[in-house]
C-alpha cells in the first residue's frame, strides 16, 4: 500500500491547519492553529527532513444538547513541513497554548571554515 493510502485510512475528516512560518534572529518559528486539540491528542513526528504534526479533536456534544447550527466539527489536523539543513534538529521545541502550536526551530551553530591540508606524497 502506498504511503498516501496509509495516511488516509482514518475515518476522520482531515484538515490542513492554518500555518505561519517566520524567521527571527534566533531561528525559525512555526505557528499552527489547532483549536480543540488537547496536548494528549497531539503528535509531532520528525522523520529525516519531514516534520509531521497530527492532532485530533473530539467535540462530542453533552447529553441532551442538539445542534442548531454547526460550522466546525470533529476531524484530524495534519500537516507536514520539510526542514532545511540549517535547522538544528536536536533543539526543536514545541509548545501548545490556547489551541496554537508553536514550534521553534533553531539554526545550527555556524561551523567554522576549515582549511583542508594537502599532503604531499
Amino acid at each position: 500500500m502506498s504511503e498516501v493510502m496509509k495516511k488516509n485510512d482514518t475515518n476522520l475528516t482531515q484538515y490542513r491547519p492554518a500555518t505561519d512560518i517566520l524567521e527571527r534572529e534566533d531561528g525559525f518559528y512555526i505557528y499552527m492553529d489547532l483549536p480543540g486539540v488537547a496536548k494528549d491528542a497531539l503528535v509531532i513526528d520528525l522523520q529525516e527532513d519531514e516534520l509531521t504534526v497530527t492532532g485530533t479533536t473530539s467535540y462530542d456534544l453533552p447529553e441532551g444538547e442538539t445542534f442548531t447550527e454547526m460550522q466546525f466539527g470533529n476531524g484530524q489536523y495534519r500537516r507536514t513541513v520539510s526542514l532545511s539543513d540549517i535547522v538544528d534538529r536536536e533543539r526543536i521545541r514545541a509548545n501548545l497554548k490556547n489551541g496554537v502550536l508553536e514550534l521553534f526551530l533553531p539554526r545550527v551553530e555556524k561551523t567554522q571554515p576549515k582549511r583542508i591540508q594537502i599532503s604531499q606524497g
Partner: protein, 137 residues
C-alpha cells in the same frame, strides 16, 4: 503542502504530497467564509455558543449581550518576524449571533479551552417547556 525549505528533496516525494493534498477532503471546497466558525446548540436549559478562536486569551475577547443578539469581538495579532508563509487569519474579528429566545443575562458564563470559546446562555424561566397538568373531572 510542503514548504520549500529544503535544499535536498526527492521530486517523487514532492509529487506524492501534491497528490495527497489534492485528495484531501476539507481542502478547497469547505473553506470557511466567516471567522470565527461557530457551533450553536441547545438543551432544555441553555443555549450554548462555541467558537474556534485559537491563540486569543479570554480576557481579550469582548462579549456583548443585547436583547436579541450576542456579539463576539476580538483581535488576533500577527507574530513579529520575517514571514515565509502566513495563513493564520490576523486582525479584528466580529460575529453577531441572533438569539431566538430570551436569556437570563445575569447567569451567562464564558470559558476558553484549547482555543475554543464556550458561552453558555441560560434560557429564562418563561420559555422553558413545562408540562401542564390536566385535571380530570
Amino acid at each position: 503542502m510542503v514548504l520549500d525549505f529544503n535544499t535536498l528533496y526527492s521530486p517523487f516525494d514532492r509529487f506524492d504530497k501534491l497528490f495527497e493534498d489534492f485528495l484531501r477532503p476539507g481542502f478547497g471546497g469547505q473553506r470557511r467564509l466567516t471567522y470565527p466558525p461557530l457551533n450553536l446548540s441547545q438543551d432544555q436549559d441553555n443555549i450554548v455558543v462555541r467558537a474556534e478562536i485559537p491563540g486569543v486569551d479570554i480576557e481579550d475577547i469582548e462579549l456583548t449581550l443585547t436583547d436579541k443578539t450576542l456579539v463576539i469581538k476580538g483581535e488576533r495579532k500577527a507574530e513579529e518576524g520575517k514571514y515565509y508563509r502566513q495563513e493564520r487569519p490576523a486582525g479584528v474579528f466580529h460575529r453577531v449571533i441572533n438569539l431566538h429566545v430570551p436569556v437570563d443575562r445575569e447567569r451567562v458564563g464564558a470559558s476558553m479551552k484549547d482555543g475554543m470559546l464556550t458561552v453558555t446562555l441560560p434560557k429564562t424561566e418563561e420559555v422553558k417547556p413545562r408540562t401542564i397538568s390536566i385535571e380530570a373531572e
